[in-house]
């Protein structure tokens, strides 16, 4: 260790060496890194990317569901869907706040999304074709998200972990409401049941791909696990998810579109088939059915909101100029 410190000091300042030592100790103790702590530049950069892309995913993720608000089959379903889409916006904002604590301002993060420089989860580049897709998205997409996010509640970066705690609490509502949509349809007419089955068939593969490429093709995972941001590998989480959804599909009376899916007594897990990773890479690179529309919609929403942002800022400026010093008032202890 002494030797190590000497080597570090040779390239980094004394302050950085002390910072690194403190950082390594906190990670080893399974403690948390907080915004004003010293952290390695690579940790800051990697987390900024991860947390902001997570935020972008929540924001873009509003679109496939917002698409069905006006066509929800009942007033109750519409109210529920609006609450869910509002939650997605909220999740995006929690995560942008967490990302900003790493030092990159909000408008810079936002520009990265609008200019197509930042990625978001490729699952949202698939269309929501039928009402049953609202069910499949809630059950499978939000279900996969929960599976991924529960371990992130213990991520070493404090603000990220705290945002994830809040998000996970809310996501469980999303997953259950999605499952219930599918349950209603699968217990309805044969046509409704077929619609539910079609939606599951379309979202099963993409949902499993939400955990990222197989471990051997995921070069960044190792560093992320060493930093205790990521706690389980992509394949571990994917397996966990498959094991969870098989009985849930049975309870729905629906099947999962995978001929290789079967219980493996020896492993104590379900085996499942190879996923279409060529399609995954193509969607990530912009070739998915909805990439262009999702981005166009986001840019348009941002531009359409410009006058609101400007008016609010102008109003705040004028109020600040006219404002009398506020009366001091004790509001609590």
């Amino acid at each position: 260790m002494a030797e190590n410190t000497t080597t570090l000091a040779a390239v980094a300042s004394e302050e950085d060496a002390a910072g690194q030592e403190n950082f390594d100790r906190l990670i080893a103790e399974d403690s948390r890194i907080e915004p004003r702590d010293w952290m390695p530049p690579a940790y800051r950069k990697s987390l900024t990317r991860q947390v902001s892309q997570h935020a972008h995913s929540e924001i873009i993720g509003m679109q496939p569901e917002a698409n069905w608000i006006t066509r929800a089959p009942s007033l109750k379903r519409k109210a529920i869907l609006m609450a869910k889409v509002q939650d997605e916006a909220g999740h995006g904002l929690y995560l942008y706040s967490a990302a900003e604590t790493l030092g990159t301002p909000r408008d810079v993060l936002n520009d990265q999304l609008l200019q197509g420089k930042a990625k978001y989860s490729s699952i949202f580049n698939y269309p929501a074709r039928t009402w049953a897709d609202m069910g499949a998205i809630g059950w499978l997409v939000d279900g996969a998200a929960i599976c991924n996010q529960v371990p992130l509640c213990r991520a070493s970066y404090g603000p990220y972990g705290r945002a994830m705690v809040r998000i996970c609490k809310e996501e469980s509502f999303h997953q259950r409401q999605g499952w219930e949509i599918l349950y209603s349809l699968s217990h309805g007419t044969p046509e409704q049941k077929q619609m539910a089955q079609d939606a599951v068939n379309r979202f099963y593969g993409p949902a499993l791909q939400m955990f990222g490429p197989p471990d051997e093709d995921s070069p960044n995972s190792k560093q992320s696990m060493a930093w205790k941001v990521k706690r389980f590998s992509n394949d571990e989480l994917r397996q966990r998810f498959v094991d969870m959804i098989v009985p849930q599909a049975e309870a729905l009376g629906l099947t999962l579109p995978d001929p290789d899916l079967k219980w493996n007594e020896e492993r104590g897990h379900y085996d499942f088939g190879e996923l279409d990773w060529d399609e995954f890479m193509s969607v990530i690179k912009g070739g998915g059915p909805m990439n262009v529309q999702r981005m166009a919609r986001r840019v348009q929403a941002h531009e359409d909101g410009a006058w609101v942002r400007e008016a609010a800022a102008a109003y705040a400026r004028r109020q600040a100029e006219q404002n009398q010093p506020a009366k001091t008032q004790l509001i609590g202890a």
Binding site: E34, R36, W38, Q86, E100, Y315, A316
Partner: protein
Amino acid sequence: MTENTSTSNAWPLWEVFVRASRGLSHVHAGSLHAPDATMALRNARDLYTRRNEGTSVWVVPAEAIAASDPDSKGGFFESAQGKSYRHATYYQQSEGVPHL
């Protein structure tokens, strides 16, 4: 709280504190951007109390918060260290004596 909040024309950053119910302190919930205090309060309500998480909300301009320096925590909090006699558990003689 961020290290760098000064951007061109972005709305300022506010820190949000929520009182979960009467009798409890306000606790830091997160942060948000808003042009002024009124909007910050409304946004805080929409963002942090969608499920009855609060009965009261404070918003504070992030730049108004003075914070201790994490790098000097050893020195800054030193005076409380090694003073176990400030805790009831330090006093052992009364062990077994009722109501003490």
